[in-house]
Symmetry: C3
Subunit: 271 residues, 3 copies
């Protein structure tokens, strides 16, 4: 039984969430450009609930060297992996500068790299090389599957194949695309998850733990927590919603309270 | 005639808003997890326009003891009542720990308690006891009416009954549920207010001043200010919108400017 | 070839964006009430990408004198023009206090004035006088065209006429109304731009550079950058999206990457 921040003995919620570093129940945060003060502030209040922080798109190219250096240092001091958005890596690859990109990322202090092909066409060999090079340099590698356009049936099989290949090639986790808007990938234009695609991905993966689901909208977070459990890996969480998501995971919010109560009353299924 | 921040003599707007502490025109803010620096910052610029600050859902359980202590102290130093979201109280009640919850809330420095039944089923006697115990311990009590599901006709009568009972039992104000999304309670799925329900609630209440309307969306704030006046009590205001809401109240924004002008030109109705 | 914040030699993106002070590719930001710390923070990380900062609606009237003074000083120290929302000027005009308003704005350190008629009816002579007085006092003047209600055909001609008159009278740029919501002016209720109105405005203006398009929503920013180029002037950008918009301009985001690549591969059209 974990004590909550009040120092109040409650038997639940806060039931089966793990302290960092953890391998499940990961939260990946989308940072669209927080300043240093805001970052410091966010980490003080919510650092415990963040596992990965992404400097979205290519925004890290727009930081001044001083701010970039300080921010990376700050985020890592909380045991959080930080990485530049995948678009920037794609630009580097397109210009034949993958090696320089990875070297520079390491010098700057990034601990993680995202390999995606949302923007450029990348053949499988290139993708494999990018993953392996990053792994060799000591990065945790996240790959991304699912194009930024609407999904079609045949794509799911492709995604499953790619997911397994990426893991074989050394990826730590595979992210299922949902974008900042939450209206592509497994989601329709209203942001509702396509349960059919979701299940095909789960069924095709070696375990549910290898997937991080981009879920920027609250209804997506609720849906995934309800269907896949409170330790589902969630990504693209807005910086303003980190505690709200952690409250959802813990049943500290109306939407998922009943599930937390059920887990408490039926512990046999959850140990 | 109040001087505005510019030190410019204008005859209106800024017409009939009261300084704190005030009993009408209350603004209740929904805090989803601001860090200490952001809180300090927000209070410096907007503290004068905040009456209540709610640490949303059960998020306060996720704060570290240090941050929780500091935040409460900071908020109260601006004459603002602060309270943990209702979900957390419901969890405590479900576990038979109401007394410990209230004791601990007092020790932590909370000045207000919300009594709701959005998550658990709570019988009337339990609700009454919770309100009275909190009042006895010196808390300002806000209760919440309106389930988190879609309203039906019969519920309005129930809500009116509960509203009056809560006040009799010592509640300071009664909050009409709108959630963070603004799509339940008196609002439809598009966030538009159901004028019929709204009027039934007003008609059944001892006065309009006892109600705080959750109104997270701008169109809801505009509608309530236009129909119930600029000193209507508003709740679940996002932290980023406090000055925008105060501008609406004062006619400093296009949407409500004409109403402010009318009040100025027809002072007899407003004194 | 500009070096990016990483110190990595890439041939593009970051192709043809200019450093400040610039006359095209302007970004105007809508500030709904950032505190001093947040402002400082924002400027450190994104100050280079902001040209104008508007204290939205009449919110500046709600600031304390200390905060207002400090904020103006801070923003200007980054070479950014700062101004109070148009509503406040309209209030002053309605009360016959235009001169005092402008004097006071200058004393407070504002460097820019917005002249609009979104709220009050203002005849052409009054509008002209307001522009010219502000210009005479040394302000940069932005005017706004397009009523806050739905556009009709005849209005476009009126807008074109006004746009040209405003420039003749000394306005620095003319803002096309989109509001904070992005659902009026050239946008329909879903926030999609009416290409027909957009073209009529462009066709009627002396050059595309004189227009600042209010574009609070991402799809509007993408549309305008794709159709009018990465150095289109954009307004009402939320404070949280400044780096994201700059990434769109530079092709550092999937949505506009292909356009940046095309510009790079076809430099003749862009020099």
């Amino acid at each position: 039984m974990i004590k909550n921040g009040w120092g109040l003995d409650l038997e639940f919620p806060l039931l089966d969430r793990r302290p960092k570093p953890r391998n499940i129940g990961l939260t990946m945060v989308l940072d669209k450009g927080l300043g240093l003060g805001e970052t410091r502030d966010l980490l003080e209040i919510a650092g415990e609930y963040i596992d990965f922080l992404k400097l979205s798109f290519g925004t890290s190219a727009l930081y001044s060297p001083y701010v970039l250096h300080k921010k990376i240092e700050l985020v890592r001091s909380y045991g959080i992996d930080i990485y530049p958005g995948g678009t920037f890596l794609e630009v580097a690859i397109l210009q034949g500068k993958l090696d320089q990109f990875l070297e520079r990322a390491r010098e700057l202090g990034f601990s993680c790299i995202e390999v995606s092909d949302g923007t450029i066409e990348m053949d499988y060999e290139m993708r494999k090389r990018a993953i392996q090079k990053a792994v060799d340099l000591g990065f945790k590698v996240l790959t991304e599957i699912g194009k930024k356009d609407k999904n079609e049936v045949f794509q799911v099989d492709e995604m499953v194949k790619l997911l397994n290949k990426d893991l074989e090639n050394g990826a730590y986790r595979v992210i299922v695309e949902g974008r900042e808007s939450g209206t592509v990938g497994i989601y329709d234009s209203k942001g509702d998850a396509d349960q059919n695609i979701l299940e095909k991905l789960l069924y095709g993966a070696p375990s549910s733990e290898v997937i991080i689901w981009e879920a920027p909208l609250k209804k997506q977070q609720v849906h995934l927590i309800k269907t896949l459990g409170n330790n589902v890996n969630l990504g693209n969480i807005p910086t303003s919603d980190i505690l709200a998501v952690e409250a959802l995971r813990n049943g500290l919010r109306g939407d998922t309270f009943k599930e937390a109560l059920y887990r408490y009353q039926n512990p046999v299924f959850y140990t």
